[in-house]
């Protein structure tokens, strides 16, 4: 195991986060605060409770998950895309590091940043809404598992992308709509039956449902299914990354 190699990549990526603190941390925190103010305090005060939970508190897990997904993808895709774009990837490819170590460095840093951000958003939410965490262990487990899984997904996007536009397409055109339609602002039980069935094909439903269960003990789907679906996506991403390194897809000619 090239421990120093992993550490070098990890530290390099974390130092990029420190250099771009405004963009990496402040910007998503401010955006999420605006959601809390608009949907939580302004509109939320006129909404009824959902599953006996105050609306402003109900949307917290979904909003944290929204930031977590977007930032995990963005951090990891940008992390591996930039060396490709600037040409410095030659150094990683010629170094004595295995692909597992490369992934540990890049994905580990991206996931760390996302988890830190998720915790900052949770702490900030406390300023606006009073909420509780019923299962702290599971809350943290979902946070870490989702951050790792979607950082891997972001890593794949970063390898696939051959321009900045492609880096944005998947998060903006697919992940954001799926998150908004995945029960961030409502329970899927509130939808007509046909839309409930369609919603079950949205993987983000399982993430938000499981995460909300960790907070309040209520969920749209059973928590075991949420864990299973997240692990399934994790395995799929691992398979994708394994294939990329095996074939050298868009990395080695």
């Amino acid at each position: 195991m090239n421990f120093y190699g992993v550490k070098a990549i990890y530290n390099f990526e974390m130092s990029r986060m420190r250099r771009t603190l405004m963009q990496s941390v402040l910007s998503p925190v401010i955006s999420t605060c605006l959601y809390f103010i608009v949907f939580g305090s302004a509109i939320g005060s006129r909404m009824g409770n959902i599953d006996s939970i105050e609306y402003a508190a109900y949307i917290i897990p979904g909003l944290v998950m929204l930031s977590l997904l977007m930032q995990s993808i963005s951090n990891a895709s940008f992390g591996i895309y930039m060396p490709k774009f600037s040409g410095t990837i030659y150094e990683v490819l010629s170094a004595p590091v295995s692909y597992v170590e490369v992934v540990l460095g890049y994905v580990g840093a991206a996931a760390t940043k996302s988890v830190i951000l998720g915790l900052i958003i949770l702490a900030t939410a406390r300023l606006f809404v009073d909420y509780s965490v019923l299962h702290p262990f599971w809350m943290l487990s979902f946070l870490v598992l989702t951050a790792v899984t979607f950082s891997m997904f972001g890593f794949i996007i970063g390898i696939w992308a051959d321009g900045f536009e492609k880096l944005q397409i998947v998060p903006m055109m697919i992940v954001t709509p799926l998150t908004f339609l995945g029960g961030t602002f409502y329970s899927i039980d509130m939808l007509p039956e046909i839309w409930q069935t369609i919603s079950l094909f949205n993987p983000v439903v399982y993430l938000i449902s499981g995460f909300r269960w960790a907070f309040y003990g209520v969920s749209d789907v059973h928590v075991g299914i949420s864990v299973g679906m997240t692990l399934l996506f994790l395995v799929a991403c691992m398979g994708g990354i394994w294939w990329i390194f095996k074939t050298g897809y868009r990395l080695r000619t």
């Binding site: 120093y4 600037s86 010629s94 295995s98």
Partner: protein, 310 residues
């Protein structure tokens, strides 16, 4: 002694079917400076990229410091430092962090003393806290070398290291390369400046259209394929080459005041002595003479054209 780089039957065929390397066989010895010359697109960078692990090989076997670059890639890559052709750097990082990153990536524990030595040797110490974007082109080139040396490699690849570098800095780099060789580092150099290869290399390899067409000790190559030219400035103008010299490789300059005798380096003594004796015999006087040796560049151009024609 086991060679530091051993390439056997190496082939590289790109996806589109283009064969960049054709059955390359090459051995580079420990501690030598090997210059790989070839026209653009000949396959120099492809070969370096394969040895360093950036490009996959299609078939063949490559060993670095005795380690197979595929099966034993960790050990093989750990011995190699690469200075690529392009100035690929992370503009926002500082010089110190960039060099330290390279050392870590190659699995070496932090060693500030070594990083300091490398930066001082390359006159970058004063810039250690500067962001790379603030460096000049020459400094960036030196930074690339510092990054390659950060993990104390035993083999160093320099792919066009002095491209776009001013004359003074080029001389400094040559000096540094010689010093590295003295420290036992094997250096493989590709360059467009043949003068650079002539100045530094122990052995020369010429690659053309993916094939190695020659590998030779530099001095032997210069002596074997090099030409010498003897120019005699005459006292009196001649209209044509005298009949006594008609069988010799002698030409008359346009103004008729110079006789030019071209000969192989190895035949030097016998031919020149005969020529001067004949001139004395037929009463042609000269007031000055000078010799000029062909450069590696002329040999290289001759070789590449010869192969292209043949």
């Amino acid at each position: 002694m086991q060679p530091d780089i051993s390439v056997k039957n190496l082939n590289k065929v790109y996806e589109g079917g283009f064969q960049a390397l054709k059955n390359i066989n090459l051995e580079i010895n420990r501690g030598e400076i090997f210059a790989l010359l070839g026209p653009n697109g000949a396959g120099k960078t492809t070969m370096i990229s394969i040895i360093c692990g950036i490009t996959n090989l299609s078939s063949g076997e490559v060993r670095a410091a005795g380690y197979d670059i595929v099966k034993d890639y960790r050990k093989a890559r750990g011995t190699i430092g690469l200075v690529p052709q392009e100035l690929n750097t992370d503009s926002f990082e500082t010089v110190w962090n960039a060099v330290s990153f390279s050392r870590g990536l190659f699995g070496k524990a932090p060693n500030p003393a070594h990083i300091e030595k490398v930066l001082r040797d390359l006159s970058l110490w004063d810039k250690r806290n500067n962001r790379i974007m603030t460096l000049s082109g020459g400094m960036k080139r030196r930074l690339m070398i510092a990054k390659a040396l950060s993990h104390e490699p035993r083999i160093l690849f320099l792919d066009e290291p002095t491209a776009g570098v001013d004359v003074e800095l080029r001389r400094d780099m040559w000096e540094m390369v010689r010093k590295l060789r003295e420290d036992g580092v094997t250096i493989i150099l590709t360059t467009h400046y043949i003068e650079e290869a002539e100045e530094m290399a122990d052995r020369i390899g010429v690659i053309r259209q993916g094939e190695i067409i020659l590998v030779e000790d530099k001095d032997q190559l210069m002596s074997k394929l090099g030409k010498k030219e003897l120019r005699l400035q005459l006292q009196n103008k001649l209209d044509k080459v005298p009949g006594e010299l008609i069988l010799e490789p002698v030409e008359l300059s346009e103004d008729g005041y110079e006789l030019i005798y071209t000969f192989d380096s190895q035949q030097e003594q016998a031919g020149v002595a005969r020529l001067l004796r004949t001139l004395g015999d037929i009463g042609i006087e000269y007031r000055d003479l000078r010799t000029r040796e062909s450069s590696l560049e002329e040999i290289f151009v001759g070789l590449v054209h010869e192969q292209a024609a043949g």
